[in-house]
Symmetry: C2
Subunit: 175 residues, 2 copies
DNA sequence: GGGTTTTATTTCAAGTATCAAAGCATTTTT
DNA sequence: AAAAATGCTTTGATACTTGAAATAAAACCC
């Protein structure tokens, strides 16, 4: 989590003044680093680990989720999700409920305590981002949105899992 | 750490069309997600874990590094770095060498095999980014650099460790 | 229906990651 | 030189991760 996670963007060309590629990669690394660091703090302040917190966030999005869905979205194995959910159940932030429609499935449902946990977590990073973003001039906001979306498209182009979680399984089955 | 790392940016306001804050957060999440996912693949293709690969990258930057430096830059404990370096030594991509000037220090030096490992790792993500970035119009490149740097500054403002590793210890001792 | 295959999840075993605390060796300070 | 600080490793404990095997339920086929 690893998150602690991956900071894979590096730049190797040296010698002359930094060009735009390098500058943009450096900025990306700063963004990655800041979010990684803050993410760990955020989780800790909620009494969870970073990975546990991410699972909780995914469950919170819709109120419940299946292990498979979570595993696919986090790109970890089902077994991993099971053990993470074990921890979250032990902490009382989610509960397991057998699906009525298909009793093979287990719905992982967020509890009130889970909702509180997320609500109470002081996401300093996001708060600061929102605050500063809103203080920007209109044109600057627009520029940032355009640029971020451009970069996001460049980076996750053929990796479709970032889109709504509908056909993730179908896509993966191709591998 | 996996590195598995933190995807902490969430958005909760719903109901109406997405505003700019939401759009920018979604884009950021896509960026985070893509880099995280690709980072793991990249490391795996090199026969390492994501965290191990990051250590190797840091060592590769200057050819060698001390455990303390790596620990500070990755924000993990020295003990963690020790065990990670153990793995890298076992794989033959780095070696430990006692510093001549201060024999308490251990320089972690990259080997030829280590250099190869990094060179051979097909960083598909970065390659695509570089390729696409270079194909952009001049004004667009400039816009992206400006926007990314703006966002990076918003996110890592008081977190100074992204800058040269000088006083990270002093900052941390405050906690 | 009864048998086979597929799907969803959990359990188990083994390896990796992480850190606090304790230990060692080497400077630096007094 | 004694004491304090520094750099690193070891140890013990917890968490994360996965592949493989096990369990259970649904879907498919004849």
């Amino acid at each position: 989590m690893n998150i602690p996670s991956a900071n894979i963007l590096t730049f190797h060309r040296k010698g002359k003044a930094m060009d735009r590629i390098d500058s943009s990669l450096v900025a990306l690394r700063r963004i990655l680093r800041a979010t990684d660091l803050f993410g760990r703090e955020l989780a800790q302040s909620a009494g969870l680990t970073a990975v546990q917190f991410r699972v909780l966030q995914l469950v919170a999005e819709k109120g419940d989720a299946t292990a498979t869905t979570i595993a696919q979205r986090m790109r970890v194995s089902q077994a991993t999700v099971t053990s993470l959910v074990d921890k979250l159940v032990a902490k009382g932030v989610v509960v397991r409920e057998k699906s009525q429609t298909d009793r093979r499935q287990t719905n992982i449902c967020i509890t009130d305590k889970g909702r509180e946990t997320i609500a109470d977590a002081p996401d300093a990073l996001q708060q600061r981002y929102v605050r500063e973003f809103q203080s920007l001039a209109d044109w600057e906001q627009a520029m940032i949105v355009a640029a971020l979306e451009r970069v996001a498209t460049m980076l996750d182009a053929e990796d479709l899992d970032a889109s709504p979680v509908l056909d993730a399984r179908d896509i993966r089955s191709g591998t």
